[in-house]
Subunit: 260 residues, 2 copies
DNA sequence: AAGTGGTCTAGACCACCTG
DNA sequence: AGGTGGTCTAGACCACTTA
């Protein structure tokens, strides 16, 4: 249980983001443990939904005290990478859970009713990344990508029109059929079928007017105001793996945000 | 340092929100300590920006170990009620700080330039709460309220038109002069001059079209799409103390949101 | 040098879940 | 009963700030 090294050793700081503040150069033990666990998660050692070893197991494995493991796991749970369940264990977070279903969809119905929405896939094709898409996916212009468009409907009325871009490599084999057949949330499919887990996203929200094509799909008059939600999603290591451009009809819904 | 009571005692659950889930009935020691500290913050025992007693002081005062105080303070820091500074102490969070300046304004310029915006007060008057405002402020329709409107300008161009409603009681003495004279963020003034500290807010975002009056003030054509941001702000005890309706011109700015 | 928060340890016991 | 996470304690030492 006692570490041979009495002091925290230098952390692996080789992946420090360019443009960020000066590298910390040193990090406490619990943060090194956190990085080690993150790396195992990234490597798929434990699959989404599975339990990871108990704190005592991990403490023995890393030759640190349980308290140190605990602090590392606490932070990973705060980051939504792990889920703790008292008496049962600690589990790899998954998008396939009911509770976490709406972590990434902030749209709420005005009347506080059912949030469930039906999906309708419009098209799904493999193509080459335009310059702007390539920039957001951090790949090269012209690289293989999957482009898909879909509608989300609440009570049979279209509310969201999404255009989604995915890198071709990780999503090799993604077809309209597989998408249409899959039950459950799309991010759940991505992690289960392609091993790509979305852990964080940034959204840029604007008000725009509907063009003719979007208006027809969303069943609103051309020129109607729509919420434009551009989302860049990241997986482990802050690597962007999705670009999503959504148009939301906010007549009977609103985008809910919490400021802390 | 040893508590006479070997087990966590029942927490004060008298303020459980109606409609919430079943009351927890018991809470760990560190959460009781957290509630005690919160109550002192709420009571203004320590002013925003001031240091609170050291962890060892608090531990002695509450007759618990430092670790227990530490966990309580950790949570309060995570909630942005306190700010820890290594080697210096723990301080009451304040809106008057440069770092925290933009915690509640999520608007970013497209070009990544300066976020600083100029304020222009349009009007400030005392009136009676309309029904919808009263509901959001959890007061009675017709109660005294302060209504004010203002513009935020980026590089001399109007970008945000805010209509703000405040309860008349806590904000007695708020005048256009005092608002115009005050340097620094408005929430900083609220906490310094009126003892009202905003700690949390919920926003409902929609796309709308500009009416004639708003269009003129924001220098956009009538019918232009605008972001409607309705904010309900809360102080200690989840008590709503502000209703704010903003119209954002998102031509050169966007609302930035992070999904975790 | 003294005081603060930050890290780490070791051990005890509790609350919860499962067999 | 045994395993898991959750709480609490006591003490050591480190890193940072100030005087």
């Amino acid at each position: 249980m006692v570490a041979d090294v009495p002091l925290p050793t230098p952390a692996d700081a080789s992946e420090a983001a360019p443009g960020a503040a000066a590298a910390p150069a040193f990090s406490p033990l619990y943060r090194q443990i956190k990085d080690l666990i993150t790396r195992e998660l990234q490597g798929g050692v434990w699959k989404p939904g599975e339990a990871i070893p108990s704190e005592l197991d991990l403490a023995a494995r890393f030759k640190v005290s349980q308290g140190t493991v605990r602090k590392a796991v606490d932070e990973l749970a705060a980051d939504n990478l792990l889920v703790r369940r008292q008496g049962k264990g600690t589990f790899v977070a998954t998008h396939a859970e009911q509770q976490i279903q709406y972590r990434f969809l902030r749209l709420m119905p005005d009347d506080g009713g059912d949030r469930a929405m039906a999906r309708r896939l419009l098209d799904c094709r493999r193509t080459r990344a335009p310059a702007d898409v390539a920039r957001m996916l951090e790949c090269k212009s012209g690289d293989a990508v999957v482009q898909l468009r879909r509608l989300l409907l609440a009570e049979a009325q279209p509310v969201v029109l999404d255009e989604i871009w995915l890198p071709g490599g990780p999503f090799k084999g993604l077809t309209a059929e597989r998408l249409a057949d899959y039950k459950g949330p799309m991010y759940g499919m991505f992690e289960a079928e392609f091993g790509v887990r979305m852990i964080r996203a940034e959204e840029r929200i604007r008000a725009v007017v509907a063009d003719a094509a979007s208006a027809e799909l969303l069943a609103v008059p051309p020129g109607a105001p729509l919420l434009s939600v551009e989302r860049q999603s990241f997986t482990y290591g802050d690597k962007p793996v999705e670009l999503r451009r959504g148009l939301y009809n906010t007549t009977r819904h609103f985008y809910r945000n919490e400021l802390n």
